[in-house]
């Protein structure tokens, strides 16, 4: 029953071709892409159950003799991630359909949106299923290419500016990846992961270390681990809301997945724990400090995204079964929750015309439903019990304490502090955007946009009608006002002018609520899910099953 393995890749690619042919029939496009992704969700669920029952499923594409061809491998980890990414992309697709049907946004040409989105999903699934390093490289390129197009949809000034950085950074990391591949092939004569697992162990230490560091650097750029995360907060927020949501949920996790594979399958004996743990600590703390300083919710969430990547690297860096279990659970939790939050921001932008904390205010009264939709995932992200964010963080902290080195203790402390600061950043957004009255926000925004206004300045803080703002926020507000092409009106003015839609389309709300429902369901099924993650983690710790499934005749 290995026929199911390639379907999560092949079906979306096929769907992409069909939707491309249906370019002039948007209704048919919507049906095809929704049906395709629904089928992928179903198939990957079956695949996951099958893999859990009967071990890794391997398919040699094109029926080449064993070590020669390209292999697709579904083990517990990849089957789980394929399923989660399919669910998340289906929700995002439904959301974007809702958005596209209601506003005729000239910035997003819908004819290419559906094919590109499906290619992106195919690339992500292929990356999770790839059984050799070169196939992993190709799937990175597939998903990156789709992401270049999605990020620069419409080619507006801001998107071209952000897209340039994104494309150049990713081309550089692809070149580094190719260098790593050449080095691996020169040293071992193979690129198959299962074969490499045996051959890399026989290399001299210095050669193996160089290859290891090269691969980690490449994947850390994709995953946005701290010193290599600079590109992310600048490029993600400018894209259309559903695109940012799917990028935030999936693309960085592909990098995390590749790091997990590198650490467990390629270099199980040399985990470089110290390096990874230090990077994880820096990612968590510096990322969240960046988030606290932001005054636009989209940018703030991009920084929390970077910061929470640190949690996963923390689990991977511990290199224990408990650590991997926590990391796998956290990846699943974070994919759903980060995507859900960005979808909610899409709704905020739709309903209130902006995501800037300077201009938003009183949303709790204007749109109470939006308040609930924001509050639940926000609390989940910052780890309030009993939600899945809390469970993931507890699992990681427990794994860290069990390792018990000073560095592990430092990471546990860092993760707690990061969790608190996440709560602070999200609570700030919650208070300003939802609990001020629109009139207060209006006064503030007007005072801020008037440089000679009645602003009382005390050192680094500004006092405007009782609210205290950091000077930095004001600067940034001016910058945002200068830079964005959106209108300069705040919520009050927009409401007075009746320029805002009064209701949110049911499809958008439904997709968002559905995804939040999934994230809450993660709490309910946390027991079985942890069991599954633990089995996946022990598979990772002992890759014997994986290797013998890929190469039943033994490695040659």
């Amino acid at each position: 029953m290995t026929e199911l393995v390639p379907l999560p890749v092949v079906l979306p690619l096929f769907g992409a071709g069909v939707t491309l042919m249906l370019a002039h029939r948007p209704a048919a496009q919507r049906v095809v892409s929704t049906a395709t992704l629904s089928a992928v969700v179903g198939i990957s669920a079956v695949l996951m159950v099958q893999v859990d029952r009967s071990g890794p499923q391997v398919l040699w594409v094109g029926a080449w003799p064993e070590p020669l061809g390209i292999s697709l491998v579904a083990d517990r980890l990849s089957a789980l991630l394929v399923l989660v990414s399919a669910i998340v992309s289906l929700a995002v697709l439904v959301f974007s359909i809702g958005q596209g049907m209601t506003d005729d946004d000239q910035d997003t040409p819908l004819t290419i949106y559906h094919p590109t989105f499906l290619v992106l999903v195919a690339g992500v699934s292929n990356a999770f299923l790839a059984g050799d390093l070169f196939n992993l490289f190709v799937s990175f390129e597939i998903l990156l290419f789709a992401s270049y197009v999605l990020l620069t949809l419409g080619g507006t000034g801001a998107r071209i500016r952000a897209g340039t950085i994104y494309v150049v950074v990713n081309m550089l990391s692809s070149a580094l990846f190719l260098i790593a591949l050449a080095a691996v092939y020169a040293a071992t004569g193979s690129l198959n992961l299962a074969q490499l697992s045996e051959r890399l162990a026989q290399l001299p230490g210095s050669v193996a270390l160089m290859i290891h560091l090269l691969l980690l650097t490449v994947f850390a750029i994709k995953a946005a681990v701290f010193p290599l995360s600079f590109w992310l907060p600048d490029s993600y927020p400018t894209a259309p809301a559903p695109v940012t949501a799917v990028f935030a949920g999936l693309l960085t996790k592909v990098g995390v997945y590749a790091i997990i594979r590198t650490q467990t399958l390629l270099f199980p004996d040399r985990p470089l724990s110290g390096l990874l743990l230090c990077a994880a600590l820096a990612t968590m703390v510096i990322g969240i400090l960046g988030a606290v300083a932001q005054s636009d919710i989209k940018r703030m969430l991009s920084f929390t995204l970077v910061s929470h990547i640190g949690y996963m690297i923390f689990g991977v860096g511990l290199a224990t079964t408990a650590g991997y279990t926590g990391a796998i659970f956290y990846v699943v939790h974070h994919i759903t929750i980060q995507t859900a939050l960005f979808l909610v921001l899409g709704l905020v932008e739709y309903r209130a015309g902006s995501t800037s904390l300077i201009r938003l205010g009183g949303l709790a009264r204007v749109a109470p439903l939006l308040g609930i939709l924001f509050f639940v995932p926000a609390m989940n992200l910052s780890g309030i019990p009993p939600m899945s964010g809390f469970l993931g963080k507890v699992a990681l902290a427990e794994a860290g304490l069990r390792v018990g080195t000073p560095l592990a203790y430092a990471l546990v402390a860092g993760s707690m502090a990061t969790s608190l600061l996440t709560l602070y950043a999200l609570a700030k957004a919650w208070n300003l955007a939802f609990w001020r009255t629109p009139a207060e926000a209006h006064d503030t925004a007007r005072t801020l946009s008037d440089p000679h206004g009645t602003v009382v300045r005390h050192g680094r803080h500004l006092h405007v009608h009782g609210s205290v703002f950091e000077t930095r926020d004001v600067e940034e507000a001016r910058r945002v006002v200068d830079e964005d092409e959106e209108s300069d009106l705040d919520l009050q003015q927009l409401m007075d002018a009746d320029a805002l839609p009064r209701r949110m389309p049911a499809t958008m709300v439904g997709a968002t609520a559905g995804l939040i429902g999934v994230s809450l369901a993660l709490t309910i099924v946390a027991g079985p899910l942890f069991g599954y993650a633990e089995r996946a983690a022990s598979d990772l710790r002992d890759p014997g099953d994986y290797i013998s499934a890929v190469l039943p005749g033994g490695s040659r």
């Binding site: 070169f134 190709v138 390129e141 340039t164 190719l178 260098i179 050449a182 092939y185 600067e475 910058r479």
Partner: protein, 146 residues
Amino acid sequence: MTANAALILTSAAVIGCAVYLILERSLTRVLVGLVLLSNGVNILFLVAGGRRGRAPILGSDQGGRVSDPLPQALVLTAIVIGLGTTAFLLAMAHRSWQLTGHDDVQDDAEDAAVRRLAAEDEASDSFDLALGAAPDEVPEEEGRST
């Protein structure tokens, strides 16, 4: 395995030039740098393929060494992907030129904010004064608009 020194040196020179070009401000030069970089990396794959030999074509068995076909297949894939990305980046450079009249890589938004804040920051001046140096001059806003 034996490596070919000429190929390694060529590749090093090409990648060195590429890095220099990528650090330039103009997107067109960055693009040329990236093309050079991918070519330099492709040469590395030839190094990884080992010593030279006959073309690895099935059925033309004349004895002697056959060169390893796999790195060549990998290079072909990499060349195709490189072509696609180059075309996309060219289109972006063109669009950037349409929008702004130049194709310079624009300032990072965060970077610009930090620089603007630094220009106004009293704390850094007092730090300079404490060291007995003159306060920093406020840097002029650069000519291009960000």
